[in-house]
Symmetry: C2
Subunit: 225 residues, 2 copies
Amino acid sequence: MLVAVDSIIFGFDGYELKLLLIQRGFEPEKGKWSLMGGFVQPDENFEQASSRILKQLTGLKNVYMEQLYAFGDPARDPEERTISVAYFALIDIHKYEKQLSDDYHAEWFPLKKIPKLIFDHSKMVKMAQEKLRYKAAFHPILFELLPERFTLPQLYNLYTGVYDTILDKRNFTRKILSTKLLIKQKEKEKEGSKKGAFYYKLDKRRYDSAFHSFLNFIPNPDNLK
Amino acid sequence: MLVAVDSIIFGFDGYELKLLLIQRGFEPEKGKWSLMGGFVQPDENFEQASSRILKQLTGLKNVYMEQLYAFGDPARDPEERTISVAYFALIDIHKYEKQLSDDYHAEWFPLKKIPKLIFDHSKMVKMAQEKLRYKAAFHPILFELLPERFTLPQLYNLYTGVYDTILDKRNFTRKILSTKLLIKQKEKEKEGSKKGAFYYKLDKRRYDSAFHSFLNFIPNPDNLK
């Protein structure tokens, strides 16, 4: 059996949540849209394979990445049995450099306008979206998608995009500020509106300690429903 | 590369959370304690392989099972590169029949007294425990470990066992009953104490609808910390 990794790469441009797709450069399914993937090499574990491929496509290292699921349907690749270990990655889209490689044509798609994908890649994307929603409800994971300085309207767009829902703006802002994860900057972003919106930065120290703090409130069957 | 599945099988006897382990019947590591596992066959997906192996060892079908993680360290099996897709299963220990197969000696171990395991199996067990804790905080998943009729003291033992902590008994009972997932029975269990404890059954209809109800309260960044 062949063993591959595939990456669901999420990015956020301040307005919309997006997905990085490539046009497959070889048969089967040449020219069709696909997730970025590749075979696991003899000396690599899955994380290493996934990082290598992400670096190849985006030029980025040290990106937030997480194993999503192992897909093993015998018929998922019609050519030869290939299992795929899928990873999702969250990147700051502004750090992404265009067309690093000529081997494949890469393009960002808004999550709501994903084209038809090869094999079981649509299923992978759907599962990655669900996992992102699940995780983002308890962990400040979405900040991985933001640049160093961001505004509250951008943050609001990000959350409403991930959950595909409208949130009460005032309430949302109050909740986010109450986490004390954000540090207000003196400068304003002025492209989005006349009035402008203050930039914020993440309090890295608080963020790092908050990220895994989830277990602090787990042994509480309050939520058992 | 070889592709295997390994199963972390949890059971609960009313007092303690336990893990089903086997003594490996072949080299390498013959005679050592191990999770139950096997190779994925050409016509099987991972779930099917995992179910087949679980059936083989325990005689049980239709068991709650969930993919945990794919382990792919190049050196995890010293003989030949083997990746393992790990599943965890929750079974009602009372339905388990002893020694279905002579091929391996299977034994239940309390989670606190797990022997040294082969390869990366200890890591798998640890990760499965963490996932069970995480999931059980939001979903009534632990009921999968209980027999049809159970008592509140048993339920209490189960939760304190999973979280390895002491919970306020009165508070815990109140919370659990407030979920309305339980139906009180007329009969009492009398082995545990002189006074006895009423049996409860799960309200299957409510349980099924509650199980995936989590998404109802996700789009709520309240918990963002």
